[in-house]
Symmetry: C2
DNA sequence: TAGTTGTACGAACGATCGTACAATTAGTTT
DNA sequence: AAACTAATTGTACGATCGTTCGTACAACTA
């Protein structure tokens, strides 16, 4: 085994850091990354304000670390389960179902973390926006490639655009209007769209 | 003519108020309704902080007024042009095109005002959220009814959900990634989905 | 002309923001 | 046990937040 940390001090520090970031991601999914305040975070976690601050050195770094932490949770919750399926339609369906479950289960109390912070930072320049946009591109291209691995798909870019649109719409409607039906509408939309793409593919194959 | 305001004082006040709200809606589309600060607004408009404050009495009231002002602009920009078309497919297409133009033209510098503030307030209770949710419901039901007015449409709720999803996705992608192609993808998606609904309708009619 | 109303202003309020720095505690190494 | 190191704390700072207050002045009414 490598990387065995025997130093109890840094061990404790890393645990504190993890707790901070977990709570930070929860708060940010509801109040946004600007709504995140170091003082409030410290109060809720019952640690000192300077203790929280020392872990990151600046508010921007706290925001960036929060985004990274949320991305790790997203990958674990949505992307990794889909990787157990073989490439193709099965993996795509698992991916989309996983996303809807991730949103519906309120992995983050405010619904999808990235929906919230994307809308918050999409129009203001800076490192936080760049990080969010980077993860967004990664997610888009992962969906596109998963779609493209299905035989007979003609326009994976277009199809990925539409599928992701259904997911985000479900999240938005559910959180804003407390409407659980949004998810079933998204599932209906996904199923119909994939069926359409499937028949188009088999028609083109003739 | 009714409502003739001859009082130059309130006339001047209303004009100031309009200027404040126009700028407030612009700022909020980029920085959010919480990013709106009375001091900053006063600074940019070169009026006093207390002058701005006096118009609304509280920050929450300023936010509510800003939402109402943005809604009026939205209606004028998107809803009203569609009303010149007769109910049916023509009106729906005009409505969706109008929405995409409203977003693409950056009527608000941060893209669609309601996309921004919806994501900001969707998970926190209060009067601002209620107002935003109310306008969201109005918009959804207006799209649904416009869809339902097309002969042969079977599930207007589902179709409206999908169409609005394409619009919001285009706005989100365009603003975050500076990707103008997002709008053409949305237009492709809308056209294909309407064609699909149309053929389903004519098939069912046989 | 005298009195009243409405808008805008400047100054100040307590609270909270992010940040800085020295002191302290806990754990590791000699 | 002493020296050292890393995590955490307490105190303090300047800036900005929303809000309150008394005032100035223009515009209306009588």
């Amino acid at each position: 085994m490598e990387d065995v940390k025997v130093d109890g001090r840094v061990e404790r520090g890393e645990q504190t850091r993890r707790q901070i970031l977990r709570r930070a991601a929860e708060i940010a999914s509801v109040e946004g990354l600007e709504g995140l305040s170091i003082g409030r975070l410290a109060g809720e976690l019952e640690v000192s304000k300077s203790g929280v601050f020392a872990h990151f050195g600046s508010k921007e770094e706290l925001q960036l670390s929060t985004v990274r932490a949320a991305a790790a949770i997203f990958v674990q919750q949505v992307v990794e389960p889909a990787l157990t399926e073989p490439p193709g339609l099965a993996r795509l369906e698992r991916l989309l179902d996983g996303w809807l479950a991730y949103s519906e289960n309120r992995t983050f109390p405010g619904g999808c973390f990235f929906y919230a912070v994307q809308a918050e930072f999409d129009a203001r320049p800076g490192r936080v926006r760049d990080a969010i946009a980077g993860y967004g591109r990664e997610w888009n291209s992962y969906v596109r490639e998963t779609v493209a691995a299905i035989p007979g798909i003609t326009d994976p870019d277009q199809l990925a655009f539409e599928l992701v649109a259904f997911l985000e719409m479900a999240n938005a409607q559910s959180v804003l209007h407390d409407d659980p039906d949004a998810y079933s509408r998204a599932r209906v939309a996904v199923r119909a769209r994939l069926a359409q793409a499937g028949t188009a593919a088999s028609t083109a194959r003739r």
